[in-house]
């Protein structure tokens, strides 16, 4: 595990997809008019004959991807997460998820990581994809996991939805970190609180744990890159021996990681209190940059610290966040 401030990488996904395509002739790449933004300009340059411009027609693109998968191809479909899930939901359900086809849907720009306003913010993509039978849902945390996710999902027999940060991707894990699909892993040990984080919230979770640790609150941070199927055993093992469980996701608190963890704990009869950090059933407006939105909507390191501090009934003011800027990462990009 590296220490903040984290270095960043560009296009780890785009390079990993090219690597897979070099090994496997069945890999196809579809793009919905967001080729450079989804890093697959790299694929298009090297494999123009296996690259398909879907244009601004997500419904048709999903339908085609399903049929290509029926014919033995491995289609990777790219657009922003919001357009990958909301617009063609019925097409994904009927043409991909129901027939359980190996289409990989890659949705960039998760949650409030975009200044593009509610139309561009994928705040319910995990909930939508998680509700579909047969679908695997992945939200990786950093560049090391992003590099590995392409190979990790290549042989999943059914459909997979992956949400990926766009632009500069922080490098949080050491290079020997291994992403194991379907597994959550403890990345920082602790005994008072189990803090489950997915995707872009891992950096904030680690930062909050560090700050709280300095003030007598021991926080166990669990990285949960696979939201579905959820690693129930890891969730119960972590939440079973603490005073408080917390989830942190760059997504609505309805239907995503928080819901999945709550369902697992409730069905197991775990009486541990739970707090869900995420968008509180709201659209997110008014921004120039993502950091502002993470702060405004309670997704910051400070919000994590304050939520845990107050839920535990700790006396006095909550400790200050050490690295306010670690959540969204540095580097901004213009909305498209």
């Amino acid at each position: 595990m590296r220490e903040p401030p984290y270095a960043t990488e560009l296009k780890p996904y785009g390079r990993a997809l090219v690597d897979l395509a070099r090994q496997r002739g069945d890999v196809l790449c579809l793009s919905g008019d967001l080729t450079r933004q989804t890093e697959v300009d790299l694929f298009q340059a090297e494999f123009p004959d296996r690259f398909i411009h879907g244009g601004m027609a997500e419904a048709n693109m999903m339908g085609m991807a399903g049929a290509l998968a029926r014919c033995g191809y491995l289609p990777f479909v790219h657009t922003f997460g919001v357009f990958a899930t909301r617009r063609p939901f019925d097409q994904i359900a009927n043409a991909i998820a129901y027939p359980n086809l190996p289409v990989r849907i890659i949705g960039f720009m998760p949650g409030v990581s975009t200044p593009g306003g509610p139309s561009h913010q994928a705040i319910d993509d995990v909930a939508l994809m998680r509700a579909l039978p047969n679908m695997t849902v992945v939200d990786v945390a950093d560049a090391v996991e992003t590099r590995q996710v392409v190979a990790a999902i290549a042989d999943v027999p059914g459909p997979v939805y992956v949400r990926l940060k766009r632009g500069e991707i922080p490098v949080i894990f050491d290079d020997d970190h291994v992403l194991r699909l379907g597994q959550a892993c403890v990345v920082s040990a602790g005994s008072d609180v189990a803090l489950f984080a997915s995707g872009m919230m891992l950096a904030a979770a680690l930062s909050a744990a560090r700050a709280l640790g300095g003030h007598g609150v021991s926080v166990c941070v669990i990285n949960v890159p696979t939201i579905k199927p959820l690693d129930s055993a890891a969730v119960l093992a972590a939440a079973g021996s603490v005073r408080l469980a917390v989830t942190a996701e760059n997504h609505s608190v309805i239907g995503g990681l928080g819901s999945a963890v709550a369902e697992t704990m409730a069905e197991a009869g775990l009486g541990c209190p739970l707090r869900r950090i995420g968008l509180r059933d709201t659209f997110a407006e008014g921004s120039l940059d993502a950091t502002y939105l993470f702060g405004k909507y309670g997704l910051s390191t400070s919000a994590l610290i304050e939520t845990i501090w107050s839920a535990l009934g700790q006396p006095g003011p909550a400790p200050a966040a050490p690295h306010a800027a670690t959540v969204a990462g540095s580097g901004e990009y213009s909305p498209v």
């Binding site: 419904a59 399903g66 049929a67 043409a95």
Partner: protein
């Protein structure tokens, strides 16, 4: 006679000696399939019988593909497959049957069908792209209904197909002017249909959808088209070929009482005997 059989499966064989007779037998079989329930998608079989017969008469078994975009029409391909000795469709539409009245993923015969309308053409494009990647010359016979033209996805697919010059595609567009709420032209103006597809870059022709020779000829012309996909706008009626249907019969979902079913079977059997004589 595998329940997972599809017209594109290698090794499958059938022959259509007379498409007119097959269309008649599709109607008769469809009546027999719907009769046990007393209601069903008989109107779709009546309007598309000649298109289905022409597709089976034209398609190369084990090579070409059949896509049935509106899954309510699956009764037609099922009936044709049954009449060609490919399939036992007993149990159609009944509880526990693998032959759901609105087609599903386990529906045999076709390469793709979907009960959520307007999606089949996109699947057909995916097949066409896959076939192009593999160097296959398979044609993709795609049944689409006129009501589906109200769905935007159909036009997304139409744009894509023309841009990519997917000439392996031929759409049999069943213009029966019928949708759930009534005649299509009272709900949305979709005319001029052929002109719209032409404007999108397709080879588009209007055909009398109940003239099976005309449909077969149009399919043959479409096969000769290079560089653009084809659509046959087949003008049809959901009541065609079954004179005993009462005037108030709802073409989208026909009620078939035991008496009416018997009358329909007698009428179609007599017509079949007359045709054979």
């Amino acid at each position: 006679m595998s329940p997972t059989l599809r017209v594109s499966d290698p090794g499958i064989r059938w022959t259509v000696s007379d498409p007119r007779e097959l269309a008649l037998r599709i109607r008769l079989r469809a009546v027999q399939m719907v009769a046990p329930q007393g209601f069903g998608y008989l109107g779709q079989a009546l309007s598309s019988a000649e298109q289905v017969a022409a597709a089976f008469a034209t398609a190369r078994p084990g090579v070409d593909r059949l896509v049935c975009s509106p899954a309510h029409y699956i009764i037609g391909p099922f009936a044709a497959a049954a009449e060609l000795g490919l399939l036992d469709v007993s149990g159609y539409g009944q509880n526990g049957s693998g032959f759901e009245a609105i087609g599903t993923e386990r529906s045999p015969v076709v390469d793709y069908t979907c009960g959520s309308l307007g999606q089949g053409l996109s699947a057909a494009l995916g097949f066409a792209l896959a076939d192009r990647f593999r160097g296959s010359d398979a044609r993709i016979f795609t049944m689409v209904s006129d009501g589906e033209l109200e769905e935007g996805q159909v036009w997304e697919a139409a744009l894509f197909a023309a841009h990519h010059r997917l000439d392996a595609l031929v759409v049999l567009l069943d213009a029966n002017n019928s949708q759930v709420d009534g005649p299509v032209d009272t709900i949305t103006t979709i005319e001029p249909i052929a002109a719209k597809w032409s404007a999108f870059g397709w080879h588009a022709v209007d055909v009398d959808g109940h003239d099976v020779d005309a449909v077969c000829a149009a399919l043959a012309s479409a096969a000769a088209e290079r560089g653009r996909p084809s659509v046959l706008v087949c003008r049809t009626s959901t009541r065609h070929g079954l004179d005993c249907l009462p005037p108030e019969a709802d073409g989208h979902f026909i009620k078939l009482t035991p008496d009416l079913a018997q009358a329909a079977i007698s009428e179609l059997t007599a017509k079949l005997e007359a045709l054979r004589a």
